[in-house]
């Protein structure tokens, strides 16, 4: 049961998203080991073959009764294993801190926050904006206004507060390692005006001092770079069985990729960006130069 060892940690430490992924992964392995087809497993819990697939990929929540029925079908009788998996199913259904912002947040972004909170390493490439985890309140407000200019003031406030609340991750007890590659353009574009931008750039220099944060700039002088598309993130999870997830935000939805071929491709692009960008130490100096010019 080495892969469910994290069930001994406090229930709120894992978060629903990764609990789902780990539980799904375990169910997949037990089903394969028992030689049970997805159709047969689906029949057992009065669901379709594709429901089984979504469950095993950690895309949906779990009913305890379904988990219990599946474990019986797969011949898992060990009490400890059974209890650990049921505990995971409970965690998988517990709401994250972000659930109270549900009314102003799309489902796909909610899902992303779950992944972000559970990641051990978060790698991002930012083309337009400073990453949400590093934004000052003024900058976050300016970005929020760009996308929701017609929204009432109190909604803007709540959106900004969601952005800032998300940053608690960085100062929490188990922060992920955040490794960001940012295009020079995102640092030059004076979102919210020059004063706001200067504050934002100073904040960036502060966060580079945090041990678990690494920022690397790709300067204009590098010419065209490896990310032909736009911004994206690669999330890594501590559990060896949980695959990396690529996250790409679009205007009205988001893409989550976890197939190995897709992840390989984005990981390669991210690696190329990281090797082409300035080193972390030179990046801090580079940002200091931009501040003088902003």
């Amino acid at each position: 049961m080495s892969t469910v060892q994290r069930d001994t940690e406090p229930a709120d430490s894992l978060g629903p998203t990764v609990s789902r992924m780990i539980l799904g992964n375990q169910l997949h392995r037990y089903r394969e080991a028992a030689g049970v087809s997805p159709d047969r497993a689906g029949y057992e819990i009065r669901a379709s073959r594709s429901k089984i697939s979504r469950m095993e990929n950690g895309r949906v929540g779990f009913k305890e009764r379904d988990v219990s029925d599946l474990l019986a079908l797969y011949g898992i009788e060990d009490e400890e294993t059974y209890a650990a998996l049921i505990a995971l199913a409970r965690q998988a259904n517990s709401p994250g801190w972000w659930s109270k912002y549900g009314d102003i947040m799309s489902d796909w972004f909610e899902e992303y926050l779950g992944l972000e909170a559970a990641a051990s390493v978060l790698r991002t490439f930012e083309l337009q904006f400073v990453h949400g985890l590093f934004q000052t309140e003024d900058y976050a407000r300016a970005v929020t206004m760009l996308g929701n200019s017609a929204a009432p003031a109190d909604e803007i406030d709540r959106r900004v507060s969601l952005r800032l609340k998300r940053q608690d991750l960085l100062t929490g007890p188990r922060p992920p390692q955040v490794w960001t590659v940012v295009d020079e353009g995102a640092l030059r574009r004076p979102v919210g005006g020059r004063k706001v931008m200067r504050g934002q750039l100073n904040r960036l220099i502060e966060v580079t001092e945090m041990r678990h944060v690494t920022i690397q700039v790709v300067p204009f002088s590098r010419g065209g770079h490896a990310a032909a598309g736009g911004s994206f993130s690669v999330l890594r999870f501590g559990d060896a069985d949980v695959p990396d997830v690529v996250y790409i935000e679009q205007l009205t939805s988001a893409l989550y990729l976890d197939k190995r071929e897709d992840v390989d491709h984005y990981l390669e692009v991210m690696n190329n960006l990281s090797t082409e960008a300035l080193t972390p130490a030179l990046t801090a100096r580079f940002i200091a130069e931009i501040i003088k010019e902003t």
């Binding site: 390692q177 390989d264 690696n271 990281s274 090797t275 130490a281």
Partner: protein, 266 residues
Amino acid sequence: MTEEHSTAGTAIDTSVPHSARIWNYWLGGKDNYAVDREAGDQFSAIYPGIVDIARADRAFLGRVIRYLAGEAGVRQFLDVGTGLPTADNTHQVAQRVAPQSRIVYVDNDPLVLAHARALLTSSEEGATSFVDADMGDAEKVLAEAAQWLDLTQPVALTFMGVLGHVIDYDQARSIVAGLLDGLPAGSYLSINDSVNTSEALEEALRVYEASGAVPYRTRTPEQFAGYFEGLELVEPGVVNVDDWRPDPGSPRGPEIPQLGGVGRKP
């Protein structure tokens, strides 16, 4: 950080398998591409023991660093041939024993350096730093290491599964000697590497080299022992990596052609 270079280096060629990424694959890591997994599988089809070697090497590194930071009281480490980050990297093991330990990692691979700078972060009390240099360039390695380490105090110099990248044995010897020359008495040297006692491993390495990957050479057991000439060997001497101060009660892995040792500079 000691970084005079503007970037970590040139673009990565992803069409050929990459040594650090293949090791990452054998160790069960996620930092590898299809081309690496194919090369890794091709290798282990000929020599399945390679996965045991990968694990045994990491375990050896862990025990050696624990000994050096613990019993031997070393607080400075020069780790040559860093590789991609994995679970227990040198600084993590050393700083668990002595949080103030200072570690300089040396590599010349842009992918390894980028990962190391971002992810091999030190404890609050200690330090990690990174040198972008060829291990043969002793002058540069020592000059940059000196910005972070006090080279008048003992340093532990480690080459974990990297000296086979140097084709010529005599050159490998002079690389080790060149770096050790710059360190004071009381410093330590630890090496592990493959020896030429397994025909299957030799065959797998030949096929690997033919794939366009950077070649790797095994040594004779006598050549391996030669790296420690002039040093006082720490008990139990030059032995199979699994037999170097094994953790009590831990099961011994399968037989592998992998030697390791620790020596002290008198």
